[in-house]
């Protein structure tokens, strides 16, 4: 596991996303409205999956979500 390499890959991806300057016209965004295209899961599905991983693995928190809590979390 090489965290530095992963940070670099993440930074490259972030920069790539920030360079998407070409505006997509409003009338060409129909595909983005399809529920299949959400970059995150539907809220209740995301919540129950996050709870599963937060309470079974040691890597909760940090990304705008809660960490700890419940009687067996660190």
């Amino acid at each position: 596991m090489k965290p530095r390499l992963s940070v670099a890959a993440f930074a490259a991806l972030a920069c790539t996303s920030l360079t998407g300057c070409a505006t997509v016209p409003q009338n060409r965004r129909a595909l983005l409205a399809d529920p299949m295209m959400g970059v995150t899961d539907e809220p209740l599905d995301a919540a129950r999956r996050q709870k599963l991983y937060d309470t079974r693995e040691g890597a909760a928190g940090g990304d705008g979500t809660t960490a700890g809590g419940g009687c067996d979390c660190q």
């Binding site: 596991m1 965290p3 992963s6 940070v7 993440f10 991806l13 972030a14 790539t16 996303s17 920030l18 998407g20 300057c21 505006t23 997509v24 409003q26 060409r28 965004r29 129909a30 595909l31 983005l32 409205a33 399809d34 529920p35 299949m36 295209m37 959400g38 970059v39 995150t40 539907e42 809220p43 209740l44 599905d45 995301a46 919540a47 129950r48 996050q50 709870k51 599963l52 991983y53 937060d54 309470t55 079974r56 693995e57 040691g58 890597a59 909760a60 928190g61 940090g62 990304d63 705008g64 979500t65 809660t66 960490a67 700890g68 809590g69 419940g70 009687c71 067996d72 979390c73 660190q74």
Partner: protein
């Protein structure tokens, strides 16, 4: 093994970023001079509202969604005493039922409320033994018949202008012998005609719970607080590609364990778990969603996690969706998570160790999830707009002897 249900309120903190991008774009288009006809229609609608006597601040239900999930867990961990050997791993067998409810309501043109109510019903949870009437209570070997935990969460999103949102959230989590409160604020702003959405959030969580020793004697109260700050950006790259990136920092202080976890000692006894009183966590998340030409979609997720307990983790996930008809699509997912253990994890500690844990969740491990789902959205006549159904199955398993079968069912009403 009860789980904290607070996150559901965060998961329902208004719209997802990608949906906000689409909504902001729609709003800006409607507000532009090129859409004068639409503006005229909106004005007519307002006149109708005035004629009908509707208050501009009245609540209108937008959606009601219910989901119930069952977790059937098998496995063993050193933190559990429910095993055949006094110093070996004990059973982590549990069945968990988790009903969830989410109501989304609009108030006027600018205010959106999201109320969530997740509940956990757990068949095996040590805290339930606390109220069994035994003195001292046996929170360990009786390891419990059932436990119920619930959360009530609310978030309100105010649309400041066509490109900016401000969201506040609050919630309460109740679980014996545990109480937790959380509150947060977040904001987002769209640029480039809605193609770019920048967001930031702050979240405070305060936990207050009973302290026990490892044989179940109550020793007063303990608490912890968790502060999280995060920033993110979502970018529409093409008409069929959207990506997002997020970084967050969480600082936790206080009692960071459940207080009754035990650790086998080499002297032939069990000792208390000893954890640091502070933990600093970093997480980087990248997501992408790509429309596929055969009417499908590919969703990718990567998360890097680092903390000052020595735990580093990588999580990758892919989901592929295929639309079968206008109202039906199916999906499959695979997730791989790998983590190093915390530096003080040990299944056999020394009595003089100042830090020690045998919690298998903090051990070096790899976990995988495979699953699938079927989603049906059926258009219906007014007053409802859509009926939503989803059924899914997932299998979670990891290298240190824990596995779970998960079945989930969702029903939604869209107005």
């Amino acid at each position: 093994m009860p789980m904290d249900g607070r996150e559901a309120s965060d998961g329902g903190r208004g719209l997802h970023a990608w949906r906000r991008v689409a909504l902001v774009a729609t709003w800006m288009a409607a507000a532009s001079p090129a859409h004068a006809q639409d503006t005229g229609a909106a004005a007519a609608s307002r006149n109708d509202a005035a004629i009908l006597g509707q208050s501009p601040t009245s609540l209108r239900i937008e959606s009601v969604t219910t989901r119930i999930t069952s977790f059937n867990q098998f496995g063993f961990g050193y933190q559990s005493k429910a095993g055949p050997l006094p110093f070996g791993p004990g059973s982590e067998r549990a069945i968990i039922l988790e009903p969830q409810l989410q109501v989304v309501a609009l108030q006027g043109d600018r205010f959106r409320h999201v109320v969530t109510l997740p509940v956990d019903i757990v068949t095996a949870a040590s805290p339930d033994a606390i109220d069994s009437g035994q003195r001292p209570p046996d929170v360990v070997s009786a390891a419990s018949r059932n436990n119920v935990a619930g959360t009530l969460g609310w978030s309100g999103t105010y649309r400041v202008d066509p490109a900016s949102d401000l969201t506040m959230s609050a919630g309460l989590h109740v679980e014996e012998p545990f109480r937790s409160w959380h509150g947060g604020i977040s904001g987002s702003h769209a640029f480039a005609g809605g193609d770019t959405l920048v967001s930031a959030s702050l979240l405070e969580v305060y936990d207050w719970f009973d302290r026990f020793d490892i044989v179940g004697h109550r020793e007063g109260r303990a608490n912890r607080s968790s502060e999280t700050a995060s920033v993110g950006v979502t970018q529409v790259l093409t008409p069929g590609t959207v990506v997002s990136a997020n970084y967050g920092l969480t600082v936790q202080t206080g009692e960071l364990g459940n207080t009754w976890n035990s650790v086998p000692l080499w002297i032939g006894e069990r000792g208390a778990e000893l954890l640091p009183s502070e933990r600093v966590r970093h997480a980087f998340v990248a997501r992408a969603s790509q429309f596929l030409p055969w009417n499908g979609a590919l969703r990718l997720y990567y998360r890097l996690y680092l903390d000052d307990w020595g735990l580093a983790a990588h999580s990758v996930e892919g989901q592929i969706m295929q639309r079968i008809s206008r109202s039906l699509y199916v999906g499959a997912l695979y997730r791989l998570h790998t983590q190093t253990g915390v530096t003080f994890f040990t299944p056999l500690a020394g009595p003089e160790d100042t830090l020690r844990t045998a919690d298998s969740d903090l051990q070096r491990l790899d976990s995988q999830t495979i699953g699938g789902k079927v989603v049906l959205d059926v258009p219906v006549d007014a007053p409802m707009r859509m009926l939503h159904f989803e059924v899914g199955y997932e299998r979670y398993f990891r290298t240190n002897n824990l596995s779970m079968d998960i079945v989930t069912w969702e029903t939604g009403y869209r107005f």
